[in-house]
């Protein structure tokens, strides 16, 4: 009976009115369920969406252009502001791209710590996603429960590095400072507690009839279509394609830890929800392994560039003091960073987060491009929400897990 009820698409029946004309509605940019400043132009037939056009750019801060005027180390705090919910992943992605450009490698302890904080950030991001997604659909309790656990993770971040959201903790060549044993112990004790809490969310939602009504069969996209739209992360894995940057192109300590990539079947909102919940469990598994196998030693590479890295290498000799020192500063005699271009990606909480750097040999990036998953996911909104009700659009925006800070950059 349940299957029958779920399989019957009740959104198809609409009265055929001869005097009908489609209605145009602007949704956003100040709308509580567009998750930021996203504006959508909807074309409606009754309550059914027949066309949709997203407008972005309300949160544009020009991070890519700003980066051209700062040196490689100074760009790192700006990447906090991309996807401000999982700043650790952004920092790691950028730091990894510059490390590959410079040809340096962080020490093992730095790698493990980066993996640990990245997974913590992923859990915090998924918790915020679950909270707001459930709130959009109407489950207020889950919102409060999720924020309760997210607060603990943010407290860990504060203990580790002194900031809660804009952390700037990973850095080029490792991490910024070592973690204290006491904090590690607290995180270790948090793991079984978090497993229980995930079961609590599942108990509230997974079998709930209202939740099933609102998510099963809503926003269906097949695997091939999802690939064609460029979806990555849990949005793609919900459609049954097990693409994960952590598995396919392992970075940091991901090749040394054991974890699975959960995939869905139908590619609907429910499967994406299920995937993210399983991913939180896998993240906890990774964190546990990271703490158990944490190697000793320094956390940062000796070759990692200084914060005040100069534009060009200059050799100051006794003769070169005075005017000639100034001239040698201006001439590009010795490039500090190898010339060339490079694309490097990490698995962010939302999907594949890529950094494309063009280097002209100086201490500043000539061009920095950020492949942000949210920007690409917004392009799939039209496909996902076609022939759905407006009320379902809210669920579809929620399921893609869009953060406008990352989309507009």
């Amino acid at each position: 009976m349940l299957e029958k009820r779920l399989s019957s698409n009740k959104y198809i029946y609409y009265p055929q009115d001869p005097f009908y004309s489609p209605l145009e509605i602007q949704m956003g940019p100040q709308h509580p369920s567009t998750h930021g400043v996203l504006k959508l132009k909807l074309l409606l037939e009754g309550e059914k969406i027949i066309d949709l056009e997203p407008t972005i750019g309300f949160l544009h801060r020009g991070i890519e252009k700003l980066a051209e005027n700062l040196n490689y180390a100074q760009v790192l705090p700006l990447t906090d502001r991309l996807d401000y919910i999982s700043a650790m992943n952004n920092n790691t992605g950028y730091a990894l791209a510059v490390e590959r450009l410079l040809g340096i490698e962080p020490p093992p302890r730095g790698k493990y710590l980066r993996t640990l904080v990245c997974e913590l950030a992923r859990i915090s991001s998924h918790l915020l996603w679950l909270a707001t997604h459930a709130l959009d659909i109407g489950a207020m309790t889950v919102f409060l429960y999720c924020f309760r656990e997210r607060e603990e993770i943010l407290n860990f971040f504060e203990k580790i590095c002194g900031a809660r959201l804009t952390v700037s903790y990973p850095r080029i060549g490792g991490v910024r400072l070592d973690i204290e044993d006491q904090v590690l112990e607290e995180i270790y004790n948090f793991i079984p507690k978090m497993h229980e809490k995930i079961e609590e969310y599942e108990g509230l939602l997974s079998e709930n009839r209202i939740w099933l009504d609102r998510t099963v069969g809503v926003g269906v996209i097949s695997g091939e279509e999802a690939l064609a739209y460029g979806l990555t992360g849990p949005s793609l894995r919900g459609s049954g394609i097990a693409y994960d940057v952590r598995k396919h192109f392992p970075y940091d300590a991901y090749s040394e830890v054991d974890f699975e990539v959960p995939i869905g079947k139908n590619g609907d909102t429910y499967d994406r929800y299920w995937c993210r919940l399983q991913e939180m469990r896998q993240s906890l598994k990774i964190i546990k392994q990271c703490i158990e196998n944490l190697p000793e030693g320094p956390v940062s590479s000796e070759l990692s560039p200084d914060l005040d890295m100069p534009l060009y290498k200059r050799a100051i000799t006794a003769e070169s003091w005075g005017e000639s020192a100034f001239i040698s500063f201006l001439t590009e005699s010795a490039p500090i960073v190898p010339k060339g271009e490079l694309y490097s990606a990490v698995e962010g909480a939302k999907g594949e987060l890529g950094f494309y750097i063009v280097s002209d040999g100086s201490g500043r990036p000539y061009r920095l491009h950020i492949r942000s998953p949210s920007f690409i996911h917004i392009s799939a909104l039209k496909k996902l929400s076609h022939n759905h009700l407006i009320a379902d659009l809210v669920a579809i925006i929620g399921t893609l897990d869009i953060v406008m800070g990352e989309c507009d950059r």
């Binding site: 700006l78 804009t166 509230l204 009839r209 320094p298 940062s300 200084d306 005040d308």
Partner: protein, 184 residues
């Protein structure tokens, strides 16, 4: 069949309600903010301060301009003069625009003498824009206000002495460790 019976008996809703009922009897985690305050952990990146040297009674800053150079949002402005005989620099003015600061902590990390610090103090919002542009006197006053209620005898900051960084990447003073003695 099983699913249908579960559906008719409202098992899914009862399961959810039992979870909320369990949580109903737990102690609330909400912090009633203005009345009670959250605990800040050491090296929280909050309001800026210039460290008052207990020996001279003045700022520790040596006007090396490293913080001005490294600041990603360019919110630090320093003026100094050079003594022509000794070559020593003397600080004339030191200004931080707190409204532009992004609280990355690079300035306190790069400072060779531990002169600037982001204190564990977060309640300093103001309706007045000028009150959030700190000059040297305001920054020293921030330090006095912060250290007045500091419980311990010696103050140190995580970012002055980065733990776990290879020794070759540290300056000479940082290898010994930077501390400020507040009380005897």
């Amino acid at each position: 069949m099983k699913k249908e019976i579960k559906y008719l008996l409202f098992k899914d809703l009862i399961k959810g309600l039992s979870i909320t009922l369990k949580n109903f009897f737990k102690t609330p985690v909400t912090v009633q903010y203005p009345k009670e305050k959250v605990k800040l952990y050491p090296s929280f990146r909050g309001r800026h301060a210039l460290v008052r040297d207990p020996l001279t009674g003045d700022a520790k800053c040596v006007a090396c301009l490293k913080c001005q150079q490294v600041c990603p949002s360019r919110c630090i402005d320093i003026n100094y003069t050079t003594d022509l005989e000794t070559g020593a620099r003397k600080l004339i003015s030191y200004k931080i625009e707190a409204l532009r600061c992004i609280y990355c902590g690079y300035c306190e990390e790069v400072c060779p003498v531990g002169a600037i610090v982001l204190t564990e103090w977060f309640e300093y919002s103001s309706r007045n824009k000028e009150a959030l542009i700190f000059d040297k006197e305001a920054l020293l006053k921030n330090w006095d206000e912060f250290i007045h209620s500091y419980p311990e005898k010696v103050y140190t900051n995580k970012y002055w002495n980065l733990k776990g960084i290879p020794e070759s990447n540290k300056s000479a003073l940082k290898r010994e460790g930077i501390y400020v003695k507040i009380k005897d």
